[in-house]
């Protein structure tokens, strides 16, 4: 009995300290005059960057205090949804693009931004598309960064083997063969994580299925994913398995990147977001990127581009004026330049200076032949999304359990279950 009483006593004391702690912390001393706004991100790796930027903002706006919280990327949407549905949540936060934006915008949790941020009209239409709800056409986010998908290659290995950037598909395969002979893994990509196969599609697909022409045609329902060009593209993708690592079905995202930055593998189809990671993991890595060419060398090779992130405001925020000030800061040229400089991200802010960074400059040059990242931009608004259908079907193709035609049918049937233009 004594021990039991002791346990209860401990519990009571613990609970009362909890209450005590709860009450002492709330009124932070001397902050009555400051407006505190909450800012959420899904980038725990960038906490220090945002802390520095917030310090700059607070110095210019001494009456505002910004509290940053970085959530784990994979749980971010769930936590944000719970908080917004519960009528709380942050004032300003990183918002997803396209379908991810529509989820919150169509639920009326996001504040339309055009009247608050007139500068939005200067942004490129491609960037704005990612921040616009297709339902009402309003802009709900200030576009922050775009991503581009292409081929990373190891310049040192290219030099060693006397290779040059391929102009057409045959040359690319020849480069792969040369690397294979020299004992390198020609292409680092694996297939364990389905979404990396969507990246692969974004890298090598457009040249085969016909880039933006095809994209526009499928979105309008004039062509579909069982189109011969699309099936041929899947066949080409499957043919790359000969150059992928041994047992590539088990090679995860972490493993493929490690193989590339450790210079075991010579190529990697990846997004522009990888550059910063490579630089931190292996500062000596000598790499560059190219757009993956199709069979015809006369046409410039397209790259898939998508808006990746924007800054949004909570429609229920009680501190909209302070939040708008912070949003304007996040949409400023200075902030955009810092993103380029510190994070190697391709800022969507108009007029940012990319020349200081050769990698970004190269990405912007490739973006001249941009095409929408097909499933993410066009078919991620409803379940089953084009992305999820493709990711699974592509795994089937790579493993050999589905033929390219079967995979194309799976994707087509899945989207057709809700997509009106496909139901005609």
């Amino acid at each position: 009995m004594k021990r039991f009483l002791l346990l209860m006593l401990v519990c009571t004391v613990a609970v009362s300290t909890l209450f005590a702690a709860g009450t002492t912390e709330t009124p932070a001393a001397g902050s009555q005059t400051k407006t505190e706004i909450h800012f959420w991100t899904w980038r725990p790796e960038d906490v220090d960057f945002y802390a520095r930027q917030i310090a700059i903002f607070e110095a210019a706006n001494p009456d505002i205090k910004v509290v940053q919280t970085a959530h784990k990327n994979t749980e971010y949407n769930t936590i944000l949804a719970a908080a917004l549905a519960g009528g709380s949540g942050p004032d300003v936060f990183q918002g997803r693009a396209y379908g991810g934006l529509a989820t919150f915008a169509d639920s009326h949790y996001l504040e339309p931004l055009e009247q608050w941020l007139p500068e939005l009209k200067n942004y490129s239409p491609t960037a704005l598309l990612g921040a616009t709800s297709p339902t009402d056409g309003k802009i709900y986010g200030s576009p922050a960064v775009s991503q581009t998908v292409f081929m990373y290659y190891n310049k040192a290995i290219y030099k060693e083997l006397g290779l040059s950037i391929p102009k057409n598909w045959a040359q690319l395969i020849a480069n792969f063969e040369a690397m294979k002979k020299a004992g390198y893994i020609p292409l680092a990509n694996g297939a364990k994580d389905g979404w990396t196969l969507e990246t692969m599609l974004g890298g090598m697909g457009p040249a085969f299925y016909g880039a933006t022409d095809f994209f526009t045609a499928v979105v309008e329902g004039k062509r579909n994913f069982q189109d011969p060009a699309f099936i041929k593209m899947i066949e080409k993708m499957k043919s790359l398995t000969a150059y992928m690592p041994n047992m590539f079905m088990g090679v995860s995202y972490e493993d493929m990147r490690a193989n590339f930055f450790n210079e075991v593998a010579g190529h990697l189809v990846g997004g522009s977001y990888e550059a910063a990671y490579f630089n931190t993991q292996n500062p000596d890595l000598y790499y560059d990127v190219f757009a993956i060419p199709g069979e015809d060398a006369s046409k410039p090779a397209p790259v898939s581009v998508y808006a990746d992130m924007n800054f949004a405001m909570n429609a229920a925020s009680q501190k909209k004026n302070a939040s708008v000030k912070f949003l304007k800061f996040l949409s400023s040229k200075d902030f955009g330049n810092s993103m380029i400089r510190d994070l190697k991200m391709i800022s969507s802010v108009p007029g940012v200076d990319a020349s200081s960074d050769p990698f970004i400059a190269r990405v912007l040059e490739l973006q001249k032949n941009a095409t929408p990242f097909i499933f993410l931009v066009g078919f991620r608004y409803q379940q089953p999304t084009g992305s999820s259908l493709w990711q699974a079907a592509a795994q089937g193709v790579m493993a050999g359990t589905l033929t390219p035609a079967q995979a194309a049918k799976q994707v087509q049937d899945g989207i057709a279950s809700y997509y009106k233009p496909f139901q005609k």
Partner: protein, 284 residues
């Protein structure tokens, strides 16, 4: 004594059987200790070492990672919060859980099965499924950003399996013991305290570990309900090492190695309750 499997005095067949079984169990022990070792040595490696030489020894043994995690990343605070949250939640899980188990297993009444199934139905779907309504309830109670919210949720999460497992064990205790105590003038709570609880000690040790581990390791609910940095728990701290495209494996493993320690200590402490004859002795 018959109840020992010993080599001495055993026939060849039995010896072979014992040897084989020991071999299997020893292999399992190795399969447990290696990952544990692997996790701890990873705490001493850099991120690149973990990704390139996951099974090798660290290049140097230094406690830099531990210092970073504990001091710079504020894990001292997270650790204390986790201890507090898990400790208080477990205290109530065991108290209310054993009471509930007693209430469903030691009485005969019509609603018995209903109460039992009500408790049990609390683990039939992960609570994560109901995060939005749960958020609204917690907000109504004014408990957002208070550690009490997670404590209450953890108590609720731990109760169903506790009631379920303990009532299974309590059912097996002969009724005569209870009658004897009643004749001595004990009321129901005294019977629960002095007779039933001591006799279910091994099962209580079991449910303690069974529930404390998921509570200790859960990052989802603290992540949703605790916003102030000063109230966050250890798993929330760990979750910050997962970036969107870059995970800090070396600090993560340092954190994980720190996080498993209290559970190991608790387990070693609890395992002394798995002593044979403790309950059997009480029956006599």
């Amino acid at each position: 004594m018959i109840s020992d499997l010993r080599f001495r005095g055993a026939g060849w067949g039995k010896r072979l059987f014992i040897f084989l079984m020991m071999a299997i169990m020893t292999i399992y022990v190795l399969l447990i200790l290696y990952p544990l070792f692997n996790m701890v040595i990873s705490a001493f490696k850099s991120n690149r070492e973990i990704l390139t030489k996951p099974f090798g020894f660290p290049q140097s043994i230094g406690f830099k990672n531990f210092h970073t995690v504990w001091v710079e990343k504020g894990f001292d605070r997270y650790f204390a919060n986790s201890l507090l949250v898990t400790g208080v939640a477990m205290g109530f899980v065991l108290l209310f859980g054993s009471m509930g188990a007693y209430g469903v297993s030691r009485y005969r009444y019509k609603a018995n099965t209903l109460v039992y199934m009500l408790f049990l139905s609390g683990i039939m779907l992960p609570l994560k499924a109901a995060i939005i309504p749960l958020f609204i309830i917690v907000k109504r109670l004014g408990l957002i950003d208070s550690r009490i919210s997670v404590i209450l949720i953890f108590i609720a999460m731990g109760l169903p399996s506790t009631v379920f497992i303990l009532s299974g064990f309590m059912k097996g205790i002969p009724l005569e013991l209870e009658y004897a105590a009643r004749i001595d003038g004990c009321h129901d709570f005294q019977i629960y305290r002095r007779i039933i609880m001591p006799m279910t000690a091994p099962a209580i040790a079991l449910v303690t570990i069974y529930n404390a581990v998921p509570i200790w390791n859960d990052f989802f609910f603290p992540l949703v309900f605790l916003q102030s940095n000063s109230r966050k728990t250890l798993p929330v701290g760990l979750s910050t090492f997962f970036g969107q495209h870059a995970t800090n494996w070396s600090l993560l493993f340092t954190g994980l190695s720190i996080a498993i320690l209290p559970m190991l200590l608790m387990y070693i402490f609890m395992s002394r309750y798995f002593i044979k004859g403790m309950t059997a002795g009480a029956v006599k």
